[in-house]
Structures are given as C-alpha cells and as structure tokens.
C-alpha cells in the first residue's frame, strides 16, 4: 500500500488560538481512517488542512507525492473539485436543487454534460436505497435520506479521497450506522480512501484504523507519529 496523503508536523492557529501543534498522519490508498478526539482537539482542523481548505501555518501536506499546501487557492480548489469528495455533518445540500441535481453537482462543476451528470447521479439512488426521491428538495427529505444524498454527492465523481466530517453526527444511532454501512461499502467498491472525523467510537469502528487527536497532536495507537 502506498501513502496517498500525509500531514507532516502541521501547525495551525485561529488568530492567537493554536488548533494544531505539530500534527502528523499518513493515510494509505484505499484505507478508511478515523480521526477521533474530544471537542476542540483539532480533529476537524486537521481534516480541513489535509483537504486543502485551510493552509497550515507551518509543516507540510502532501497528496499523491506532491505538496498540496504550497499550491495556489485555484489549484487547491481544482483538486478539491476533481479528486476529493466531501460529506459534512448536516449534509449541506443546496435547498433550491432537487436531490438528483445535488448529487450531480460535482460532475456539473467538473464540466460533465448535464444529461450525463444526471444519469450518473440517478444510478446512486438505487444503490443507496433512495429510489423515488430523485426530484425531492432537501426540505422534503428525512435526515437520513438527506445524508445519503450528501454521501452520493461526495462519491459520484469517484474521488480518490473522501473527507467525512462527523457524517452521522446529526442522525439517530440506527440511521447513522446505515449511512456508515453504505459509506464503507461504496468506498471499498470504488477504491476511495476515506478520512473520517468522528467523536463516536461506534462510528470509528467502521474504519480500518483510528488515530487520536489531542491538544493539536496526533497519537496513533500502533505507532506514535508525532
């Protein structure tokens, strides 16, 4: 297995408040990694740095062997659009769009023709048990349905990496586990590497491995990397 993304000695502060104090973690291709830690430990900040949403104050982020943190915002933006997928806690679907349009969004933004994008998006509805909900808007979906739509949107472009930040945080236990089951199956099927931020052990148990973030540093159980 080769390392697909890596943070090395990353620091990041929100103003005067340090969030990461030398965090290091490496993720292998196809791996599902859970980043755990208490509230305010820096786990979401680490995910945002890995995804190129935030630029570290110091340290390095490399993706597929090349530096990511030194890229211009436009290049990082392209990378996020073309190679990465995202699922957040509250789905964050575009309320004006239908469910299928929401799923198709990453494809449309990448320049895929509308008919083809919608067709590929529709294929995900059967796969995730969302048959018949294609034309609904986010307000007409339950929390679990909306999160499955968000998951489809995160995976539709077959990203190399999926970043999931508390993807089940707003769902009840059973629905949350159903979403995780689908996430893991779909990611494994298409070989997508997953970086999952969660504070719930039962959700982290779906991953291949977990690391703990505490006080802005990463503590891996099998190997101390920072």
């Amino acid at each position: 297995m080769s390392v697909v993304i890596e943070a090395r000695d990353v620091t990041f502060a929100f103003g005067q408040t340090p969030a990461l104090r030398g965090a290091s973690v490496a993720v292998e291709a196809g791996e599902i990694l859970a980043i755990m830690g208490p509230s305010g430990s820096g786990k979401s900040t680490l995910l945002h740095c890995l995804a190129g949403i935030l630029v570290p104050d110091s340290g390095e982020i490399s993706f597929a062997g090349a530096r990511l943190d030194t890229l211009a915002e436009t290049q990082r933006s392209s990378l996020r659009r073309d190679r990465f997928g995202f699922v957040f806690q509250f789905g964050q679907l575009v309320p004006e769009l239908t469910a299928v349009e929401n799923v198709a969004l990453p494809l449309l933004l990448s320049g895929v023709r509308r008919t083809s994008a919608l067709e590929r998006a529709k294929a995900w509805f059967a796969r995730l048990g969302l048959d018949g909900l294609e034309e609904r808007r986010s307000g007409e979906l339950s929390g679990g349905q909306a999160q499955r739509v968000a998951l489809a949107r995160g995976l539709v472009a077959e990203p190399q990496l999926l970043f999931a930040d508390e993807p089940t945080g707003a769902l009840d236990s059973l629905t949350g586990e159903q979403v995780m089951d689908l996430l893991v199956s779909a990611a494994r099927e298409q070989g997508t590497t997953v970086i999952l931020v969660t504070h719930e052990a039962r959700i982290a148990a779906y991953a291949d491995r977990e690391v703990m973030v505490r006080d802005g540093r990463v503590n891996a159980p099998d190997r101390i990397v920072s």
């Binding site: 208490p38 893991v184 719930e200 052990a201 039962r202 148990a205 291949d208 703990m212 159980p221």
Partner: protein, 174 residues
Amino acid sequence: MSVPLTLLGLLEREPSHGYDLKRDYDTFFGRGKPLPFGQVYSTLSRLARDGKVVISDVAPGSGPDRKRYIITDVGATEVEQWLTQPVEPEPHLQTVLFAKVVLALMLDRPAADYLDTQRSAHLHRMRELTEIKRAGSLVDALLADHGLYHLEADLRWIEMTGARLDALRKEVRQ
C-alpha cells in the same frame, strides 16, 4: 447465559427432543460455543427431576431412545419470572481498569498511556464486532450491537477518566 432457563424458554415455544433443542440453542445462542450433548441431557434430567419439564413419549429407534420434553406450569412460571426480572448490571471492567488507573497514578506510572492502550484494544474489538454486524444476519447484528454498546460505555468512561487524570493524581497522592 443461563443454559437451563434458555432451554426451558425454547421448550415453552414447543415440545422438543434433546437433539432439536441443542440445534436451536447452537443456532441462536451458541455463537461459536456449541452446547455439548452431555450438558443438554444432564440439564434436561435436572429440569425433569425438579418438575419443570416432563417426558411425553419415547420414540424407539436404532440409536438411543428419543425423549420428547414438555415444559410444565412450574417451568413456564420460572421462564416468565426470568424474562421479567431485570438482569443485574455488572460494571465488571471498570473495577479492573479503575484499579489500574488509581495504582498507576499512585506509582507515578503513565496512566494516560495505559488508557490509550485500553482504548485501542476496545476499538480493535469494536471493529471486529462491526465486521460481524455488517457481514452477518440480523440476529448476529443484535448480538454484536450488545457488545458494541457495552464497549462504547467503557470508552466513555476511559475518555472521562483521561480528562480528569491530573485532578485524580492530586487526590490519590495526597
């Protein structure tokens, strides 16, 4: 797992032979630890002696006679009482872990590291149970969930204790 009460419960569903009882027990409750035939028949003999089951008929055959067991009112009452009584909560792990943490703090050992090791072991087991849940039947999932929720409760205790280690250290080293 109470074998006599579980067998009684299976008999309340329908009268059965020892062989069928063993098969049903292994299917639903055995989980890799099948009930030995010897234990099935010795348990049934005790239940018969105590008036909780009776033998309805004996079917002769080439092998040993096949006895058919029927639950009695006494047996059914016992099943009813067992099902309705809550199970004694057993915070067993915490007592061991609690002792380890307190001793580690007293002896100035790295209690936080011990908790990290325990967390890792718990998560490893939770991953195994999650795999069982994903690959197995709904009955498997139910059993795995029971283990997962208990392990999760332990982990919450580990997190809470980890956050209080400095204060605990002061208290136990006074």
